[in-house]
């Protein structure tokens, strides 16, 4: 009887089963309703943004919505009685569903994030050609990692749904899968539903979880496979059942392969994680051997083999199918290591980045860094005292040190903010676990020492406030940036806020009238849309074509070298400034002499060029065809 009760209700201690079920129902139900209200408040803020309202009241409403979304989860996980197994899992999944809804509500009718257009292009090419590994001028490496395209293609062709609907379903499922798989990993490692729920909640406040890692992008699907692969690896580390030796290997291999085929960085992270775990487990077993301790099978060899299989798959895919990945990642890696070298040799870097934005966002950023920095230390303490027998817990604790490395590199390297954000997607897995242990430890202290229930609750509120502050910092550092946190306000060459009907129209016109694969120079928004909807071979790094009032010899030489056939001119770049700390063009590294806004004469000069055609005009957007025959480099 006791086992039955424990299997259903988990940690609750009230005597009557029926009362426990009723209490659980009301707690879970109320939490779910409050979370749904949070989503509604955010939707109201978004609607206000689309209606032209802006300013502090609706931005404040957005933040209130986020607190309502996360608050019940944090409260239930930190309060003294704690959640049951079902409640903790339900809260985690509810949070994942709610955060995905927030992302969906930002752009509910069409793709709105620039990266989504890149993957739309690859998927459309697959649907048209019926074969993988096509060409995508906008994101050339994307066809070499066709996992997302395959899944979307399968859903589109079997159901008849449009790509947008299929993409939203797949991204949503991947988001939920990531949360579920991380919960399973944390639950099995920690042995506590509360700790697992807290770890997942802390993971959910990482800067990219709510939006960027939930878009229709290949990393979204790959993260789900990463989580599942970790679950499979955790199971593989246990001694196998006699009748079931092969199947765990097949399961793990399939999930590793799916990750490798879907996203480059995620597969490298998976390989590195498995190598790290194998080393940890091996070192732990070796240490116990030397002490003459019980030589239980810790799975070191199996994890090592799985790590080897992963590395082998990564290498094969990289060598045979996706060698372009090296060229794609090389510039980022070069900047990263150059910045790292400058940091280590204490040389000044002229391109390190510091956080920008409104004062509350900056304060939240810095507070987050301090809280995580201190929280990781507290988490280490608790893990060492209570879980040093569990190798995975130790591995999480050690991996969390990566946060300090990322903090330094964020400030010292070019593109530091972007690299930090992308890295935190993975680092928040061990950080979430370590911080959760710290919160569990601090909560236990507060309950033991609290002389009054009210004091205990106050301390719970304090602990919850820490998590909410992490949430603020995560959103402030995340996506979308603060200047387009509410949708609807057009910002020329903004990321999501720059997508507009006129640019979409010219892209679709180009696809249908000009045909595909023309070399086109354009500003950022038109670059994205012409490269995706327009199916054009859009050109980067030709910003200077727009910098002078006359078409110079250098401009002609640049156009010739890059085989530019068409130049897109968006007259709105002469009327409006680009986003803060950004430029008008895809390379995002405007020359110091780049005018802001761009003078109208700079844009219309192409019409004075002998032999140039003005083939398209929609009022704000003009398409010029440059004279002469251009050959690709």
């Amino acid at each position: 009887m006791t086992q039955l009760i424990e299997s259903f209700t988990g940690e609750l201690s009230r005597p009557t089963r029926e009362l426990r079920r009723t209490g659980n129902t009301h707690r879970i139900g109320l939490a779910a309703v409050v979370m749904a209200l949070g989503v509604l408040v955010i939707s109201l803020a978004y609607a206000a943004g689309r209606g032209g309202a802006s300013g502090q009241p609706w931005t404040g409403a957005y933040w209130i919505g986020e607190v309502l979304l996360f608050g019940p989860v944090v409260w239930r996980l930190l309060c003294r009685k704690g959640p049951s197994e079902y409640e903790a899992a339900g809260l985690v999944l509810g949070l994942a569903g709610g955060t995905y809804l927030v992302k969906y509500l930002y752009s509910p009718l069409r793709f709105g994030f620039p990266d989504e257009f890149q993957h739309w292009r690859s998927t459309t090419t697959l649907l048209e050609s019926h074969h993988l590994f096509g060409v995508n001028h906008l994101l050339p490496v994307s066809p070499a990692y066709p996992g997302l395209q395959e899944v979307t293609s399968a859903l589109v062709t079997t159901t008849g749904l449009p790509i947008f609907a299929a993409g939203m379903i797949i991204a949503g499922l991947a988001h939920l899968l990531l949360a579920a798989s991380l919960y399973v990993v944390f639950r099995r490692v920690s042995g506590s539903a509360r700790a697992a729920g807290l770890a997942c909640t802390i993971y959910a406040v990482n800067p990219h979880f709510q939006v960027f890692d939930a878009i229709f992008g290949y990393q979204t699907l790959a993260l789900a496979f990463l989580g599942l692969a970790l679950v499979a690896a955790l199971a593989l580390a246990k001694p196998p059942e006699r009748e079931n030796r092969i199947r765990p290997w097949v399961l793990a291999a399939v999930l590793v392969a799916a990750t490798v085929v879907t996203h480059h960085i995620t597969s490298y992270v998976l390989a590195g994680t498995l190598i790290l775990l194998a080393c940890f487990v091996s070192a732990y077993r070796h240490r116990r051997n030397r002490r003459g301790a019980d030589l239980r099978d810790t799975g070191a060899a199996r994890l090592g083999v799985l790590a080897g299989i992963t590395v082998g798959m990564v290498g094969l895919w990289l060598g045979l199918i996706a060698p372009l990945t090296v060229q794609y990642l090389e510039p980022t890696a070069r900047h990263f290591f150059a910045g790292l070298a400058n940091t280590l040799t204490a040389q000044a870097s002229d391109s390190g980045t510091t956080p920008t934005g409104p004062l509350p966002d900056l304060m939240a950023n810095y507070a987050t860094a301090i809280l995580i920095g201190l929280g990781v230390l507290a988490g280490w303490r608790h893990i060492w005292r209570t879980q040093r027998h569990h190798v995975w817990a130790l591995a999480f604790a050690v991996s969390a040190v990566g946060y300090y490395v990322i903090l330094i590199l964020r400030l010292a390297t070019p593109d530091g903010a972007e690299i930090a954000g992308r890295s935190l997607t993975y680092l928040y897995i061990p950080i979430g676990y370590t911080l959760a242990m710290a919160l569990v430890w601090l909560s236990q202290i507060s309950w033991r020492r609290a002389r009054h229930a009210a004091l205990g609750r106050a301390q719970t509120v304090l602990a919850g406030s820490v998590v909410i502050l992490l949430l603020f910092g995560g959103i402030a550092a995340g996506w979308p940036p603060y200047w387009e946190r509410l949708p609807g306000h057009y910002i020329v060459d903004g990321f999501e806020s720059g997508i507009n009907d006129q640019s979409t129209a010219v892209a679709k016109w180009a696809a249908s009238t000009l045909g595909p694969d023309h070399r086109v120079a354009a500003d950022f928004t038109n670059y994205i849309l012409l490269g995706s909807y327009g199916d054009q071979d859009v050109v980067r790094g030709v910003n200077q074509l727009y910098y002078h009032p006359t078409y110079t010899g250098a401009d002609a030489e640049l156009a010739r070298q890059d085989a530019v056939t068409y130049v897109v001119v968006d007259l709105r770049t002469s009327r409006y400034k680009p986003p803060p700390a950004q430029g008008y063009f895809p390379a995002r590294s405007t020359s110091p002499n780049a005018p802001v806004p761009i003078p109208r004469a700079n844009l219309l000069k192409f019409g004075n060029l002998p032999g140039a055609d003005r083939v398209y005009d929609s009022g704000d957007i003009i398409l010029y065809k440059l004279p002469g025959t251009h050959h690709a480099k």
Partner: protein, 293 residues
């Protein structure tokens, strides 16, 4: 827990899953061949295609690869089952797509439908064979598996609870409805506000040379598309050099396109001007220079 009545239970889930797979695949195939624009078949394709792609392959693979598990961590079985079902469905599609890419027809609706169905049925066959093998090994003394899927370990215990206590309570149902209503309101509000966003008011004008084929040599295409939110009157003037070669007065509905073929420049600049609806509408201009082929 062992008796002969378990043997039909062991295979019944495989048969049911196989039957549903064949049904879904058949409906999807029928929908794509028969449907046309029929809304009924569109709905049928969605209702059959979603489980065929997102549920059945993963469910079958879960039965094959995770046949029997003890779950010391007491993770809810529904969470595990759902996670593996959907996760393995997605992974299976990734692997299946790589194989389909090797066949000449590639990744089409037919090949996906057949491929996913074959994958699912193959996994089910493998599960059945594995169960038979295990039951032979154990001398058929015990059921091959204690439950159709390994995740039933805990829910098998739950099955001992009186059925009435496992039904959702009225309170749970009310909370569920409240959540759906609130979330649905949020989604509806987002849709309506996004659909009602102020539109750009513009029209497209273009003048492009003919394609490089003999039939259209010496020709150019002049086109206008109305992207204003309402119908409008447009005036187009075509000049060859300084002389007016042609004019058009157009009334276009929103989203409507007009185009015509005109002789190319032949030594003179070809210039078209569009004047749109409304007072103060700015003229739009396109130009083909005389040397453009």
């Amino acid at each position: 827990m062992r008796n002969d009545s378990v043997r039909p239970t062991v295979s019944r889930d495989l048969v049911i899953t196989a039957g549903i797979t064949v049904l879904c695949a058949g409906l999807v195939a029928l929908a794509h061949t028969v449907a046309g624009q029929s809304p009924v078949w569109t709905v049928i394709a969605i209702l059959a295609g979603l489980p065929l792609a997102l549920v059945l392959p993963g469910h079958a693979l879960t039965m094959l690869l995770l046949p029997r598990r003890t779950e010391p961590a007491r993770i809810p079985p529904l969470l595990l089952q759902g996670m593996w079902t959907v996760g393995l469905s997605l992974a299976a599609m990734v692997m299946c797509g790589l194989l389909l890419n090797l066949i000449p027809v590639g990744l089409t609706s037919t090949s996906w439908t057949v491929g996913l169905a074959v994958l699912t049925l193959g996994a089910l066959a493998g599960t059945g064979a594995a169960r038979v093998r295990e039951s032979v090994k154990r001398g058929a003394r015990r059921p091959a598996v204690s439950a159709p899927t390994g995740v039933r370990t805990v829910s098998a215990r739950s099955a001992e609870l009186p059925a009435a206590r496992r039904r959702p309570t009225l309170a749970a149902a009310c909370y569920g409805i409240a959540v759906l209503v609130v979330a649905g309101t949020a989604v509806g509000l987002a849709h309506s506000s996004a659909a009602g966003q102020p539109n750009s008011h513009f029209a497209q004008l273009w003048l492009v040379p003919g394609k490089a084929d003999p039939a259209s040599a010496g020709q150019a295409t002049l086109g206008v598309r109305n992207d204003y939110p309402e119908s409008g009157h447009f005036h187009v003037t075509l000049r060859r050099g300084t002389a007016v070669a042609a004019t058009w007065d157009l009334t276009l509905q929103t989203g409507q396109t007009w185009h015509t073929t005109v002789p190319s420049a032949r030594g003179n600049t070809l210039k078209a001007t569009l004047t749109g609806p409304g007072p103060g509408a700015r003229s739009q201009v396109v130009v083909l220079n005389p040397d453009t082929p």
